[in-house]
């Protein structure tokens, strides 16, 4: 168990290092770092000074070493727009993104689990047909358009909820529902097909033959086994939510990392873009690591192998 944990930690660190290297490669080799890191409208003398202070006049391998050391110190440079540490700018926006992602995840997992289970257990009925039709439609709907339609209906037409903003519960409902629909559609379909698979298993037949109550079978045999694919999916979706909320945050003017990244791109604020990508990737790795550890508790078959 300890060995497994250490091995996965090591792999996670390698991944973070890989992300850092990819970002370095993209910004320094694919693009022209001088135009990326110098604010628009700088004079030639300023450009020369900044080039020097960022070490952009050094050979590439030296730049890489400096870059990695800076990141280990949490130093991504100063934001051009805000004038202070880019990492701090990003971390300030983190709570808003986490609040939105976790609310959306909660709504989506709750509705998706119920809908998926109902669709599988009432197979062939009108409930399954409706749920699956909604899930297929929801899967094809672009989140940002759904967000705009929610604003059109609930804010502009009915005046029930604000069209954007941040701070109160009423601001949270529309963006969380928009992202929640995306979670719902992926989860409902997955859960339905995995429960249908589980129902075919021998241990379900045995449990039924033993004369166990259907509720006992549902809680002990079906739910426990369905938990594994759900966990995998939720981990994947969490990652997508952290990055994928870029458009939703933009639509609703939600002050999270996604909207910050777009503002930074529009203003060519590269230190902030880099820091945002790094934080996002680090969170993603952290979530995957926790899920891998969670499996150990969920599935004894994995535990014995680890």
């Amino acid at each position: 168990m300890v060995m497994f944990f250490l091995k996965r930690m090591g792999e996670a660190l390698v991944t973070v290092w890989g992300v850092v290297t990819i970002v370095f490669f993209i910004t320094r080799i694919l693009g022209d770092p001088i135009t990326l890191f110098v604010p628009i409208g700088a004079t030639n003398a300023q450009i020369a000074a900044l080039t020097h202070s960022y070490g952009l006049d050094l050979p590439l391998w030296k730049q890489y070493i400096h870059y990695v050391i800076d990141i280990l110190h949490g130093n991504f440079g100063k934001s051009f727009i805000f004038g202070y540490s880019a990492l701090q700018v990003v971390l300030q926006r983190l709570p808003a993104t986490i609040l939105l992602a976790s609310t959306a995840l909660f709504l989506g997992v709750l509705s998706g689990t119920i809908a998926g289970a109902v669709a599988a257990l009432k197979k062939g009925g009108i409930a399954e047909l409706t749920i699956m039709a909604v899930a297929v439609l929801a899967q094809a709907t672009p989140t940002f358009w759904l967000g705009i339609m929610f604003i059109l209906w609930f804010a502009v037409h009915l005046h029930w909820l604000p069209a954007g903003g941040y701070g109160t519960l009423s601001n949270l409902i529309l963006p969380a529902a928009t992202l929640g629909v995306f979670v719902f559609s992926s989860l409902a379909r997955l859960l339905r097909s995995s429960i249908l698979d589980i129902l075919q298993e021998d241990y379900i037949r045995t449990a039924r033959a033993k004369g166990l109550y259907p509720t006992t079978i549902l809680c002990w045999h079906i739910a426990r086994n369905a938990l594994i694919p759900i966990t995998t999916m939720v981990a994947l979706l969490t990652g997508e939510l952290l990055g994928g909320s870029v458009v939703t945050e933009t639509v609703f003017g939600w002050p999270g990392i996604g909207r910050l990244t777009i503002q930074a791109i529009q203003a060519s604020d590269f230190p902030v873009i880099q820091a945002a990508v790094f934080i996002d990737a680090a969170l993603f790795v952290l979530i995957n690591l926790s899920v891998d550890l969670l499996y150990q508790f969920l599935d004894p078959r994995i535990r014995s192998r680890g």
Binding site: A140, G243, D280, A281
Partner: protein, 280 residues
């Protein structure tokens, strides 16, 4: 091929997806020959006209007086062109690397799989934004970026298939008679993995269409004045309280296209899946 269409006709959803998608493709192809109002130059006297099913502008006009229907059809041209190119590029890249990794094994395989692990732990949207921000938005760059987000999905599955294939007798005998590795990969392995490639490509098409619309919506995809669905949504957002038709129709276009592709993709997957095939 005959069997293919026969089973397609028997599935409502597969059939619906096929008809919907092919009509979008045909519409995009014949766009220049239907007598549509200019999608780029508008008439300011006709700005923000609501939909009029029988008139000159059946779906209304936008803030600079351009016909929405015409922009939707030309936007469809751009969307399908970019999406198909990105899918093709991603499929070629992913399949090639998958075959290489699976067939050569050893250190090459390990390095390639590690790269995939790293890329998969990178939120796709962030990767896309970063590359577009560095390269600058243009149609070519959008195609490259979308293909880059896509290749890993092929590589993993194809590699697995190749690992099984390479132990098969026809490959072993090709090796025994001294065929070169490249020749075996091209002649024996590639044709045997084309089926999963087709299924993944169809499902990827849907994801890529949505992602492309998102990029254009954020102003990082297709640039004005070229019409594009995501960009039309972004422009219409400002007029949401007065002119709902500008945001409704481009979104519906994205939804219907993605839906069509998804339905077709799900059907294709079942069609090629030996488990469900036995039931037919």
């Amino acid at each position: 091929m005959k069997d293919f269409f026969k089973t397609l006709l028997r599935s409502y959803s597969g059939c619906a997806g096929f008809i919907l998608l092919s009509s979008f493709v045909v519409l995009a192809l014949i766009a220049p020959w239907i007598n549509l109002p200019d999608p780029i130059i508008g008439n300011l006297h006709e700005r923000l006209l609501p939909p009029d099913w029988t008139g000159l502008h059946p779906l209304g006009t936008d803030p600079v007086g351009r016909d929405i229907l015409s922009r939707l059809i030309y936007g469809g041209q751009t969307t399908l062109m970019v999406a198909f190119s990105a899918v093709a590029l991603g499929a070629i890249l992913g399949t090639g690397i998958g075959i290489l990794a699976g067939f050569s094994g050893g250190i090459i395989d390990r390095i390639l799989m590690r790269i995939i692990d790293i890329q998969l732990s990178f939120p796709l949207m962030m990767l896309t934004l970063l590359v577009v921000a560095v390269l600058g938005p243009s149609i070519g760059n959008v195609i490259i970026v979308l293909a880059l987000t896509s290749w890993t999905r092929y590589t993993r599955i194809i590699r697995g298939q190749v690992l099984v294939l390479k132990e098969r007798e026809f490959i072993l005998s090709a090796k025994a008679i001294g065929a070169s590795a490249f020749w075996i990969m091209r002649q024996h392995i590639l044709p045997n993995v084309l089926t999963p490639v087709m299924v993944i490509a169809t499902l990827e098409l849907a994801r890529i269409i949505i992602m492309m619309a998102a990029l254009s919506f954020l102003g990082l995809g297709v640039q004005p004045p070229d019409p594009d669905w995501g960009q039309m949504l972004a422009e219409g957002r400002v007029y949401i309280s007065t002119a709902w038709w500008i945001v409704l129709f481009p979104g519906l276009a994205i939804l219907l296209t993605t839906l069509a592709v998804n339905l077709l993709g799900d059907w294709l997957r079942d069609y090629f899946d030996p488990k469900t095939r036995l039931k037919r």
